[in-house]
Each structure stands twice: as structure tokens, then as C-alpha cells.
């Protein structure tokens, strides 16, 4: 997924008017702690100051530039919430004068043994901030296509990158990318050692953008619906396969855009199955899955065969380093299967 984002940003700086890709260690030589910005022409290193990063992105957008700003880990975005709110209300406060075409991207979630400060989720906090669009892909192809749309947007977009999936290879190739992984790596991954003379060789990329606001039905099913995004999406997909073998037929929806989200797709699915699990890994109190559950319950109550279920992170102050702690804190494969099974078979 890191490569997909890098290719999307390359396409965007070449074709979509992106002028600045910046943040801590985003420029050469490192090109981002997850390599998402290696070899990009407009990438530069900022001071270690998240408030300055968001503020500069806002200013650039105001002056007609098109910034993509990175917060190195979403764990470090929390001293900028006022600025994120401001970016989200500037158009509204000025009664339509100042829109802010800017993208903020940041790695989120658990799964790399990141301990307390490299495991945070940001979807709950972000979806509570009006005026933004929020995206979270679970495949490289979606990451590519959604990033292109983000870079075309007239409004601020928060692009959440599930860090557990950074190095995961997708089933579907990005148009233009060579079939061979090694070849791609040779072309666009910076070499070890001295990089001062290195230049990437970009594949011929095309505008395979994916509109914001469209969910994807990853697996059609009839007995229950699972709605997820990011790392837990993969758990849901695998769990659906496991349960299929047990005779439970689950529909799996990848939300992809968290705000504005694809209500028609959700509605149709829940009307069909009558059972729905909202799955994510942010802590579970005042969680975005609870918003989705509330809306489904309010609107589709009389179509429901069982209470909508939210499976999310435990309400603990952090994700501990030891594997045992992380496993107990955020949904694991087993938890997802169990929740789906329970939901599918629940009777009054």
C-alpha cells in the first residue's frame, strides 16, 4: 500500500496540481517512515511541529497551492484538533468564500507492535469533525484510487492509512504497475545507502480514481452484514470465508470513505440481511461504529432480526507493547468470527 500511495502522489504531483507533499521526514533522504513519499519531486521535510504542518497546509490551500501534508503517526495529531476543526469550518464560517483543497494523510491503527503511541486509531475523532471528508482504504488499489480523488477534492480530506497494511500486496494490480513485485521495487523503492543520486523510474500511471463516498461490497451474502474498513476489513473478509464453510453466508462491505459514507449500500444490505456488525479498532466509547449502528437502528429498526453489533477496541488508555496486551485490546481474527457467528444465530 505504501507503494500505491507513492504512485498516486507521483501521479497527483504530475497531473493533478499537487504542489507540496510535506511533513516530518517526508522529503529525501528518507521519504517517509513508511516510504510513502520516496522519490517524489515536491516532497520536503518540515520542522518537527504538527501544528505548523496543518497550519502550513491550510495556508497553502488558501493561496491556491495543493498540499498533501503528512502527520507521521496519527498518534501525534491530537495537538492539532483545533486546526482540523478550523480547516473544516473555514468555508462555512466565511459563508462560502474560502474552501480548502488540502489532503492530510496519516498512518493509523495497530498491528505493528507499536505500543501506546504507534497504535492509535483516528476514525472516531475524525468523523466527529464536520467539513472534512475521511477516507481509509484497505487495499493498494483503493488507496491509489482514493488518493487521486482526495487530490482532486475542493474540500479538506483526511486520508487514514492502516499501518498494518502498509506492506500488504493487493489482489488487484494498479493500472500501469508491472506484474512483477521485484521489478516495481527496483523501479520506485529508494536503495539502501547513499540515495543522493537516485531517481525513481515511475511506471506509466493512469487516472484510476475512485469516487469518495462509495462503499464496496467485497463479498455478497444473505444472512448478515459486516461493515468495516482498514485493518479489520481483512479480518472480516477472512472470517466470512471461514463462516461460509460453516454454512453462514455473510455480506462484507468495505466502507472505504468514512465521511460522507455510502448509506444506500448499507441500507440495502441491512434490509436484506437484518443483521449487521460494525467492525473497527478505535476504542469503543463514542465510536464511529456506534454512529452507524444508531442510524441503522433508527431507520431500519423494524427490518432488524437482531441488535446491530459494534465490535471495536476496548476502552483502555492505550495498546500495550506485549502481544498479549495488543491482542486483548483490539479485535483479532477469532473475535470477529465469534461476533459474526453470534450475530448470525441470535434469536430472541
Amino acid at each position: 500500500m505504501a507503494q500505491a500511495i507513492r504512485m498516486a502522489l507521483h501521479f497527483a504531483e504530475k497531473n493533478l496540481g499537487v504542489t507540496d507533499i510535506f511533513g516530518e521526514d517526508v522529503g529525501p533522504p528518507l521519504g517517509g517512515v513508511f516510504t510513502c513519499t520516496q522519490g517524489l519531486e515536491t516532497a520536503w521535510n518540515s520542522p518537527l511541529d504538527e501544528r505548523g504542518i496543518i497550519g502550513a497546509a491550510m495556508g497553502l490551500a488558501m493561496a491556491g497551492s495543493r498540499p498533501v501534508a503528512e502527520i507521521q503517526f496519527c498518534d501525534y495529531v491530537y495537538n492539532t484538533i483545533d486546526l482540523l476543526k478550523l480547516a473544516g469550518n473555514t468555508l462555512w464560517s466565511s459563508n462560502g468564500q474560502w474552501n480548502l483543497p488540502m489532503v492530510v494523510m496519516t498512518p493509523v491503527g495497530s498491528g505493528i507492535r507499536g505500543s501506546i503511541y504507534h497504535s492509535h486509531s483516528f476514525d472516531a475523532t475524525m468523523t466527529h469533525i464536520p467539513g472534512w471528508k475521511t477516507v481509509m482504504p484497505s487495499t493498494p488499489l483503493d488507496a491509489y484510487g482514493l488518493m487521486l480523488s482526495a487530490c482532486k477534492e475542493q474540500n479538506p480530506v483526511m486520508f487514514l492509512i492502516p499501518k498494518a497494511l502498509m506492506r500488504v500486496k493487493g489482489d488487484e494490480a494498479i493500472p500501469g504497475e508491472p506484474g512483477d513485485d521485484k521489478q516495481l521495487s527496483k523501479m520506485i523503492d529508494a536503495p539502501l545507502g547513499d540515495r543522493s543520486k537516485w531517481k525513481p523510474q515511475w511506471p506509466e500511471l493512469v487516472d484510476a480514481s475512485i469516487p469518495l463516498g462509495q462503499a464496496k461490497v467485497v463479498r455478497a451474502g444473505s444472512q448478515l452484514t459486516v461493515v468495516s474498513y482498514g485493518r479489520t476489513m481483512l479480518l472480516a473478509k477472512k472470517a466470512a470465508e471461514t463462516l461460509a464453510a460453516e454454512g453462514i453466508d455473510a455480506e462484507v462491505i468495505d466502507l472505504r470513505t468514512l465521511w460522507p459514507y455510502d448509506w444506500p449500500t448499507l441500507e440495502a444490505s441491512v434490509k436484506k440481511t437484518g443483521r449487521v456488525l460494525f467492525l473497527n479498532e478505535d476504542t469503543e466509547v463514542t465510536n464511529f461504529g456506534e454512529h452507524l449502528a444508531r442510524r441503522v437502528t433508527e431507520k431500519l429498526f423494524y427490518s432488524l432480526l437482531a441488535p446491530p453489533k459494534v465490535l471495536a477496541g476496548k476502552f483502555v488508555p492505550g495498546i500495550g507493547l506485549a502481544d498479549t496486551l495488543e491482542a486483548a485490546s483490539v479485535p483479532q481474527q477469532h473475535d470477529v468470527e465469534q461476533a459474526m457467528r453470534a450475530l448470525a444465530t441470535m434469536q430472541p
Binding site: 507540496d20 511541529d49 505548523g52 497550519g55 502550513a56 497551492s65 478550523l86 464560517s93 466565511s94 431507520k299
Partner: protein
């Protein structure tokens, strides 16, 4: 770009700075413009206060007492849209600057009355919260000091764009305690990437009820720029002539050197912090307007009687404007859905 070029002309064309006809270091025409604009600004703020006091507005905040600084500031701004022109990241005491740039007073009155016609926020925001995209005046927002974190962005675009457009940021003394002030110093002084920002602090020695001396150990706020290798100075913001000349020097440096300059201006706060603290005239602090009027009178540039007449004229004009605004409609409740997203139809996303 055609449009840009058209806007290049300043508010008013003046003769060369120093004239022979007076000992004052500015030509009489400029001095009279300055004074008249200061009068307009004072009368406008006093009208807004009167509106508040008579129930035609919920909250007042503004810049009476800072006119001697804010008017020269506005006179030096290169107004227009886009990176070729100056960007203005203002706080809530900048009405005099807008007037000096040529803004009509009616907008401020409408915003005070929160009518739908308010050109800055459509009845959404407090008085003094200007926003004018045509002139690069970015929305004034209530949170103290956030503008100092944004200014590097517009300046970076300007540096890249070329030309002599600069970014200007203003804020108060107390606000410099926020980290954003330091952010501004850091981001505008990156080696080889210095940014054309005129960093201004108007020091009235108060943050609401808290005296500067009680909470800040910095003698001269401008000194905070020294470690960053930037030019700095502390100036008298109560004298419009010296303010003009000092600002002119700073503007020229930033425009041509494309580097930051930190200017601290000592100013008065003549009606207290805001309506929350009563908005009554403070008889202890220096009144830059009456001081300037004394000087103009002494130098035969404008008599006290003329000055008084001007005050009366504008007071009457703005009272009339307020009467007009009072008849204008408030925004419709359903308009809350307007402008949540650019380019999208207004709607409640959760409506059935």
C-alpha cells in the same frame, strides 16, 4: 492575471513621502487621508458599540485605540487576490486596516447585526471577524493565535510564485504565549527557505483582565525573533507617522528580501477588551486619535474644528447605515447547510 494587474494600484496615490511644505515627515495629503481614515475607524467602532448597547448585536470586539497603527498598516498593503498580492491573517481588532484598504463600513455593521447580508460570514460570526477572498483577507477566527500557524503556508506559495506579495499576520501580546507564535518564528526562518512574512504583535499590555507583566517575562516581544536570526523592532503604535515610516521600512524589507520581520507595536485598548468587559471608554490610556489631531492642528494641516466636523459626519453616516442594517433580514435557519462542502448542494446528511 489581467485582473491581478488591475488591482495592483494602492488605495490612493500619494506624492513622495517627505515634502517641503511641513516639518512632518509625511506629505499633508497622506496625513489627512490617514487622519480621516482613523476617524472613520473610530466612528465605526463606536457605532458598533452603540449597536451592542442598544440590543442590535450580541457581542462586540474591535480595535478602537489601535487606529494609529492599523491605518498605516492598511495603507501599505498590496491588495488583491492570489499569491501576487498580500495575504492578511488578521485578528479581531483590524477594522481600521480594512477601512484603510478601502473597505466599505457597511459590512462591519451588518456583521454586528448578524444579518444575512453580512458579507464576511452571512450572520454566522462575531463582529470584527472579517473575511474577503477578493483581497486575500483570510477569515478572522476567534481562537487566539492560530493565524500564526497558517501564515507560513500562504507565504510559501508567495515565495514560490515570485513577485513581491507578502503575508501579514497580526495578533495580541497575551496570545504570544501560545505555541503558535513560536511555530511562526520557526517556520518563517528555515535556513535558505525564509518566508516573506510581516509578523506583527500589537501589544496593549492586556489579555482580557490579565496584565502582560503578570504572566510574561519577555521585556520586548520583538526580542523573541532575535534567536531566529530575523529582523525585529518594537515601535510606537500610537503615533501614525512613525508607525507608517517604521512599517514602510519593514514592508520594503519583507517584499524585497523575501524574509520575515517581527514588529511589535505598543498600542492602547480604548474600550476595554470587548462588550463582555463593558466596552466603556478608557480615560487612562493614550488616545492616538486625539493626540494626532493635536499635532495636525499644530502643524496647520487640519484644524480641530475640521477634525470635529469629520467625526460628526462619520458618526451620523454610520448611525444611518446601522438604521438600514436593522431592517435587513436574518439568515434563514435552513441556511446552516450552505457551504459545508464546496461544490455540493446544501443538505442534512442524516435527513431521511
Amino acid at each position: 492575471m489581467a485582473r491581478d494587474a488591475k488591482k495592483l494600484k494602492p488605495v490612493k496615490e500619494f506624492k513622495p513621502l517627505i515634502t517641503k511644505s511641513t516639518e512632518l515627515p509625511l506629505d499633508p495629503e497622506r496625513l489627512r487621508f490617514m487622519h480621516e481614515t482613523m476617524v472613520k475607524a473610530r466612528c465605526l467602532e463606536e457605532r458598533l458599540i452603540a449597536m451592542y448597547k442598544s440590543g442590535h448585536g450580541y457581542f462586540w470586539i474591535g480595535g478602537p485605540g489601535e487606529e494609529a497603527f492599523n491605518v498605516p498598516l492598511g495603507m501599505l498593503i498590496k491588495k488583491g487576490q492570489g499569491p501576487a498580492f498580500d495575504f492578511c491573517h488578521f485578528h479581531y481588532r483590524q477594522s481600521a486596516t480594512l477601512l484603510a484598504m478601502g473597505e466599505e463600513p457597511m459590512g462591519a455593521i451588518r456583521q454586528m447585526k448578524n444579518t444575512a447580508t453580512d458579507p464576511y460570514s452571512g450572520g454566522r460570526n462575531f463582529a470584527g471577524h472579517f473575511s474577503k477572498k477578493e483581497w486575500n483577507i483570510v477569515p478572522v477566527s476567534s481562537p487566539i493565535e492560530v493565524q500564526y500557524s497558517m501564515v507560513a503556508g500562504t507565504a510559501l506559495a508567495q515565495k514560490r510564485h515570485g513577485g513581491d506579495g507578502i503575508s501579514i499576520v497580526t495578533g495580541g501580546d497575551a496570545g504570544t504565549a501560545e505555541g503558535d507564535f513560536a511555530t511562526c518564528l520557526v517556520w518563517t526562518s528555515r535556513p535558505g527557505e525564509e518566508l516573506p512574512v510581516l509578523i506583527i504583535v500589537t501589544n496593549n499590555r492586556w489579555g482580557i483582565s490579565t496584565p502582560y507583566e503578570q504572566v510574561q517575562g519577555v521585556e520586548k516581544i520583538s526580542d523573541r525573533g532575535v534567536a531566529f536570526g530575523m529582523r525585529t523592532k518594537t515601535i510606537d503604535g500610537n503615533d501614525p507617522i512613525s508607525a507608517y515610516l517604521e512599517l514602510k521600512e519593514a514592508f520594503e524589507y519583507v517584499r524585497t528580501e523575501r524574509k520575515p520581520y517581527l514588529v511589535e507595536a505598543r498600542v492602547s485598548r480604548l474600550y476595554g477588551h470587548s462588550s463582555a468587559s463593558g466596552a466603556n471608554f478608557n480615560t487612562v490610556e493614550a488616545d492616538c486619535l486625539s493626540q494626532f489631531e493635536d499635532k495636525l492642528d499644530a502643524h496647520g494641516i487640519r484644524t480641530k474644528a475640521e477634525a470635529k466636523a469629520l467625526r460628526e459626519k462619520y458618526a451620523a453616516d454610520y448611525a444611518e447605515l446601522a438604521r438600514v442594517a436593522k431592517e435587513e433580514p436574518f439568515p434563514d435557519g435552513s441556511s446552516i447547510w450552505n457551504h459545508v462542502y464546496a461544490g455540493e448542494a446544501p443538505k442534512d446528511p442524516l435527513a431521511d
